[in-house]
Symmetry: C2
Subunit: 475 residues, 2 copies
């Protein structure tokens, strides 16, 4: 059960909330969920099982009809009770399965409210699961990530978090901090043994300064390793932005279509965040990739073309990866152009030398320009598998082949991990400067607070409001 600084939480009898929990719109079936002390009672007022004589059984589906309290039935379907604490929220819950039409759903929600429920706020079911101590904050966030996952790999990574992958990594660090804290307290109580060069402590006794400093280093190192996972974690969660750059007629559009065509299933155009590009999403090696097509780059005085070039450069500046496309058959000056262009880019670069089906200019070596180089033909598909592998490898980063189950995926994670790491580094520096154990304990507490906030062991209403406001209603 998390410690709370607000007035929420704990084994409080909360009011009963209701929401549509399946996607809005028309479908064969919709799910309306109730959670709270009166869930079973309210469900009983609006759901009338066909076999009313049989007593309701936990988690057993019953067939019956839905009606407003005292009203005529408007739908038939199924309902189930899930008694707490062994439910998602930890409270008593009911799930109602009605026909998936907007009017039916609206009638069922109204009926539930007439019977005493109130409409749930976004994420309120998950928030209750958190307040009941069923899952921590990192796990709460992973619930939202599972829903918005754009590839199966992203979903598996989110499930890893929900199963406690990142939680366990953070708890291991937490344990080390607690251990160091115990030694610091001992040092405060027995200051004589806490001296520079005092050497390893006797079993059960306080650690010496150098050993403590070593422990701080380990903690900082563990946190730094987690920090490094942020880029690939963020890309897996939000998608990697890949800007496709090149001069007109280099084959950018053919390349884009080829990449999109390989996995049309999860593709959908979304308006670019900069409002001047349209992104297309595809799955490359399990990573959701947002391909940003740009206008051709060329030296021009024409204001319209200049505007296109500006947009291309802005897209490149915000990209996780730039894909520079050249027409390798166009002669050496195309290669020279690319080398110049790549020199000006901040993001990692892959140089796609297109039209390899035609006689082509010599390509530079990978030691000559700061880019991976891949000869392709967007027309015949030659080299495209390797290009996809290079894109996936670049977006996965150094942790790409590793463990998706313990990546930092949100800025909130990264910021708090950085805060904790800096506290550990400050602690070590303070030790080395021979400061008193009391002062070092201040740094340690700061680190502990950061991890507490990350896991939601200590939280305020504001933090919860901020996190759950981004959830969909019904979750």
């Amino acid at each position: 059960m998390p410690t709370r600084t607000g007035d929420e939480g704990g084994h409080v009898q909360r009011d009963t909330i209701v929401a549509l929990s399946s996607a809005p719109g028309k479908g064969a079936i919709a799910i309306v969920r109730l959670s709270g002390a009166r869930a079973a009672e309210i469900a009983g007022k609006i759901f009338h099982p066909n076999n009313a004589a049989a007593p309701p059984e936990n988690r057993k589906l019953r067939v019956g009809k839905f009606a407003a309290p005292g009203g005529r039935a408007f739908d038939e379907g199924m309902a189930v009770l899930m008694t707490g604490p062994d439910s998602f929220t930890g409270e008593d819950m009911a799930e109602l399965y009605c026909h998936g039409g907007p009017a039916v759903v609206q009638a069922l929600l109204s009926a539930a409210c007439d019977a005493g429920a109130r409409p749930a706020a976004p994420g309120e079911f998950t928030r209750r699961a958190f307040l009941e101590g069923k899952i921590d904050l990192v796990q709460c966030e992973s619930v939202a990530d599972l829903i918005s996952a754009e590839t199966a790999r992203a979903a598996r990574a989110a499930l890893g978090h929900l199963e406690g992958g990142l939680t366990k990594a953070l708890e291991a660090i937490w344990g080390k901090i607690i251990e160091v804290g115990a030694h610091l307290e001992a040092a405060i109580d027995f200051p004589d043994e806490f001296e520079p060069g005092a050497g390893p402590a006797p079993p059960g006794g306080p650690m010496g300064q150098s050993e403590l400093a070593g422990r701080f280093s380990v903690i900082a190192g563990d946190l730094a390793a987690l920090e490094k996972t942020y880029r690939s974690g963020r890309i897996l969660r939000e998608g990697g932005r890949v800007a496709i750059l090149g001069r007109p007629n280099a084959g950018k559009s053919t390349l884009l279509n080829y990449l999109l065509g390989t996995k049309r299933a999860i593709m959908s155009p979304i308006p670019g965040t900069t409002r001047d590009t349209v992104e297309e999403v595809c799955d490359i090696g399990g990573i959701p990739v947002r391909l940003i097509d740009t206008a051709g780059l060329r030296d021009t005085g024409d204001p319209v073309e200049l505007e296109g070039t500006d947009r291309a450069r802005r897209a490149a500046a915000s990209a996780d990866l730039c894909l520079v496309v050249i027409d390798a058959a166009a002669g050496p000056e195309e290669v020279e152009w690319a080398a110049r262009e790549i020199g000006g880019l901040d993001a990692p670069v892959i140089l796609a030398a297109n039209k390899m089906d035609l006689p082509r200019a010599n390509l530079p070596g990978e030691n000559e320009i700061p880019a991976r180089i891949c000869a392709i033909s967007a027309l015949t598909g030659e080299g495209m598998d390797r290009l996809r592998d290079l894109i996936a490898a670049s977006l996965s980063g150094e942790d790409g082949g590793g463990d998706d189950q313990r990546l930092l995926t949100r800025e909130r994670h990264r910021d708090l991990v950085v805060r904790c790491r800096k506290a550990a580094e400050n602690g070590r520096a303070a030790l080395e400067r021979g400061l008193s154990p009391e002062l070092i304990a201040v740094d340690l507490n700061e680190g502990q607070r950061a991890l507490s906030e990350l896991l939601g062991r200590d939280y305020g209403q504001d933090l919860l409001d901020k996190i759950f406001s981004t959830f969909c209603i019904g979750k």
Copy 2:
């Protein structure tokens, strides 16, 4: 079990189908359904219950993880088995409740297909329920109607059909046809007793001609009564089209906004079917009403204004009801204009005399013009409750206050009921002309065939394809 003319149906072991059964898009939870002989086996390959030791129990939810066969878990959720014939389709079914994200759903559908299921065609679950004799065709259609119902009243009407309201009315007529058929057969076997004016048959004997003619009249009358329900049934299912007509500044827009504002919940703009009007849907007395705003009508030579006037007239021509709005404070010539205009309209008309908060011209009596008249102020809301009642009464028609549970709602219903009624009338006419029982039996068979087709007791693949192709996938 329906009789089939195709190769489908009956207690066949069908392959196992899978589909997303909740609405597409993002939600907290999604439902993926399986139906067919291998439903339980396939579910067992992709769902791994946390408490695997406990044997699965019919209709009991289990918590667990989802994975492709042999793959790593990508989500956690719940699953339930529903063994046939006591299931919606009558076959073995499984329902899987996963997190409602597109990638998770896609992964789960792929996993099910990898495990041996195939993607379901639109309406295939309901089609199987029909083929297994769980519901008739009219009930199948009501499933689609429940989902697309736009008001709670429309949903209740659809539920009435699903519960067999219309089916019972049709079966009562069917019973009368069968009875007449038995007497006709007797008449064929004992032609001597089947003579004009032979009077009531002895108990158990064949009916005389006049008595049979009376029976045909009753059948035709029952069918004619059903036919009359088609307008209100169609309007409840598809929505009633109400064209708002009036001269500029009569207050059409204020009126429209007032009507819409009263029930914004289920309102959404939809593109007009004629592409030149935008319809707004609202709930008036439980009826989904499509309000069609038109340009002001005025005598003009300006081509742009003429085009607007043309569109208004087209909207009026296709409307179920015209709402003519006048500025009652504008003087008698506004009333005269309305009287002329109303004379040219085919649909029922309500004359809304707006601005009753101002001093106004004398209104005509309801016996002077073919319209209901209602003084309103769209500004203050005065008279608006009565206007809504008048709109609802006009769209409900003569059956409005009656029974929503046995309305004809589709053209298919109406056409077949008309065919059956005409056959009954032909039969009576043939009797009256003294034709032989064999010839009269031809008419009777024709009527029986029409009812058979309506209920789906005799069907071809084409009919089923046509009906179920309009269903959503997953239903």
